[in-house]
């Protein structure tokens, strides 16, 4: 697995804004207008991904990581979800302002998505062959026979045994891991430049998780795609990601190169997340957990949203919201004590 860490693609535009990134989200705001009030789900998220690199977006459920992905894909449920500000540029063009048809063509071909729960994400009443071949037939104008031929190749690519016969099976006839492979094959069909994987392994057994992550990493490398890996699992991230963005209450609280982040987290939330990982060398000790609950998005705490749960919180944290501070390189952190944390040994 360690070979994956070898970066084969250059990380372009390390210093951020200047160069055109492949996919660049800037200052995205999304809110959910519910009966109980307006929930600010995403509050100014910016990140980017380039060809050949993997960005991991990390956060608890409700942190807005999946909603960001849905907004990129244009599959946000509206209502209740509304984009109130920001831009999502793919190859320099803003997806949020482009025409419906133009945007539709970006889906699958420019940016494709692997969903968390393949069992519900695949249509239960069509064979997987139909669902994959459909892309070739409708998007590439291929004949039925050609579409199925390409679908077989794709199932081979994602290492599903007996691809040709399994094409005729329905999603529920596959095992969890195999189903997720089908999902991946479908996402790859139109050769996308960016692949968003939304918790691709959450629903799977631990052993299968590793296989799927390996497969994703391998494909990403072979095709030189950009990948956004959305997860809550710190363990998954370490082996695959180049950069990590940590989200909390709809904001990015820390962003860093994967090694830097693991080596020296510069935000108390990241610190707490890492602390709460079970570790072999601390066997017998009590597991550290983050106290409290994720914030209620209808009433996000004032100041730093994390302060009620933060071990380092002081008075300033409840009154002033810390800005995302650049700490050098691709590193940034949104904490009043970021520099303190960065400077520590």
């Amino acid at each position: 697995m360690s070979d994956i860490k070898v970066k084969t693609a250059p990380v372009l535009g390390v210093d951020g804004r200047s160069a055109g990134h492949l996919l660049e989200i800037e200052n995205l705001h999304v809110e959910f207008r519910t009966r109980d009030g307006v929930a600010k789900v995403i509050n100014g998220v910016s990140y980017h991904v380039d060809a050949g690199e993997t960005l991991a977006v990390l956060g608890e459920s409700g942190s807005g990581k999946s909603v960001t992905a849905q907004t990129i894909m244009g599959i946000l449920d509206t209502p209740p979800g509304f984009v109130t500000n920001g831009s999502i540029r793919f190859r320099g063009k803003d997806l949020l302002t482009m025409g419906k048809d133009e945007r539709r063509l970006v889906r699958g071909e420019g940016i494709a998505m692997v969903f968390q729960d393949a069992l519900s994400a695949l249509n239960p009443v069509f064979t997987v062959g139909f669902q994959i071949a459909e892309l070739f037939r409708k998007r590439r104008g291929m004949s039925r026979a050609d579409g199925y031929k390409r679908a077989t190749e794709l199932l081979d690519l994602v290492k599903i045994p007996a691809a040709k016969t399994r094409l005729k099976d329905y999603p529920h006839q596959f095992s969890g891991g195999m189903r997720q492979r089908v999902m991946i094959a479908m996402a790859l069909a139109l050769d996308p430049e960016v692949l968003i994987a939304d918790e691709p392994t959450t629903a799977l057994d631990v052993t299968v998780q590793a296989q799927i992550m390996d497969l994703l990493a391998e494909i990403r490398r072979d095709r030189n795609m950009g990948m956004i890996l959305i997860t809550h699992d710190l363990g998954v991230v370490a082996d695959v990601a180049d950069r990590i963005a940590v989200m909390y209450a709809g904001r990015i609280v820390e962003q860093a190169d994967v090694h830097a982040l693991y080596g020296k987290p510069c935000h108390p939330y990241t610190l707490a997340l890492l602390d709460s990982l079970p570790r072999l060398d601390l066997k017998g000790q009590e597991l550290n957990t983050i106290k409290g609950l994720p914030p209620n998005l209808l009433r996000i705490p004032s100041g730093c949203a994390f302060h009620p749960r933060c071990r380092m919180a002081r008075d300033i944290c409840s009154t002033q919201r810390p800005a995302l501070l650049e700490l050098g390189g691709v590193r940034s952190s949104a904490c009043h004590f970021a520099e303190e944390l960065y400077g520590r040994e």
Partner: protein
């Protein structure tokens, strides 16, 4: 349907909820009371529910004390008044007659329409209650004993469900009260009610059986049984509360359907007959005079449709309120 949800998935594993998870502390569903208070809160704000509830109250009042609405005798016929059109001037004046006109025999259509509610409500309500009791009893037997009793009762119920409703009622009623015969009001009314019960109980037995089976699975019921609770206690404490919601919903809608069915059978001449006053009979009588005296049919038909509609709407609203999934 109201099985308690105890499982709280870890915050991490849960998929992104559409509304933030912490917005409202989920009402604990293991207390049936909160389900009903919830439903009641939901219902009071629904116009369809309020309207149908008011209408049903009116119909029940009509059935119980028709004298409140009219002072005329629905059976008094005076051929001099035969086929007199409605007197709209008499509409809000109590004590007057002929608001809806007079029928062929010269009986007051308004009074007959008001008195007609009694037959509809009586037949519908008694049949539904009978269904609940009989079906509920067999349902509990099926669910609790299982095995051969269950299979046997299921097949037995299928025999009655296999008969199309109107068809079955037609055969049964025409056997026990041939078309040409003149059974007494009590006899024919109870016959209609019994027919509805005979044909309807299997549906209610199925509901009760499902409720018993799902309740039997619950941990706290296992616990109660392990502690030595007797079947009777388990049924009254745990099974019945779970069965009430679907029973009430299906019962209300069925009541509406039975009112329609009673009218249909009376219209066909095999259901209620003179001297019982029924909307179905009135509509049947009006057939030959559709052109000459459309009011003979219009008023009872309107009452009939509104009555059926009220019960169906009420059942619909209650179901929506009790089934949080559809909210």
């Amino acid at each position: 349907m109201s099985s308690p949800e105890v499982a709280t998935p870890t915050a991490e594993a849960a998929p992104m909820p559409v509304t933030p998870a912490v917005v409202e502390p989920a009402p604990r569903k293991d207390k049936p009371r909160s389900l009903w208070t919830d439903a009641w809160y939901e219902l009071r704000r629904k116009p369809l529910f309020v309207i149908s509830a008011i209408l049903i109250t009116l119909f029940v009042l009509m059935a119980a004390v028709p004298q409140l609405f009219t002072s005329a005798d629905p059976l008094a016929a005076d051929l001099n008044r035969s086929l007199t059109p409605p007197d709209f001037g008499a509409w809000f004046q109590f004590g007057k007659q002929g608001q809806f006109g007079f029928d062929l025999q010269g009986a007051d259509i308004y009074a007959r329409t008001i008195y007609g509610a009694r037959a509809s409500i009586l037949v519908g309500l008694s049949a539904v209650i009978g269904n609940m009791l009989l079906g509920g009893f067999f349902g509990i037997l099926s669910g609790y004993l299982g095995g051969w009793t269950d299979t046997l009762l299921a097949r037995f119920g299928d025999i009655f469900l296999g008969l199309p409703f109107v068809l079955g009622a037609l055969v049964i009623l025409s056997t026990f009260a041939p078309v040409q015969s003149n059974p007494s009001a009590f006899r024919i009314t109870s016959l209609v009610i019994l027919t509805f019960i005979a044909l309807g109980w299997p549906s209610f037995a199925r509901i009760m059986r499902a409720a018993v089976l799902s309740t039997k699975q619950l941990d706290y019921v296992h616990a109660a049984q392990a502690l030595g609770a007797r079947p009777g206690r388990v049924i009254f404490r745990h099974v019945l509360p779970n069965a009430i919601a679907p029973m009430v919903v299906v019962g209300t809608i069925t009541l509406g359907a039975y009112i329609g069915a009673e009218a249909t059978l009376s219209f066909l001449g095999v259901g209620l007959r003179q001297p019982v006053v029924s909307w179905g009979i009135m509509i049947g009588d009006s057939r030959q005079y559709m052109e000459a005296a459309p009011y003979m049919m219009a008023f009872p038909a309107a009452f009939l449709a509104i009555a059926v509609l009220s019960f169906v709407m009420l059942g619909d609203a209650v179901r929506d309120a009790l089934d949080p999934k559809l909210r």
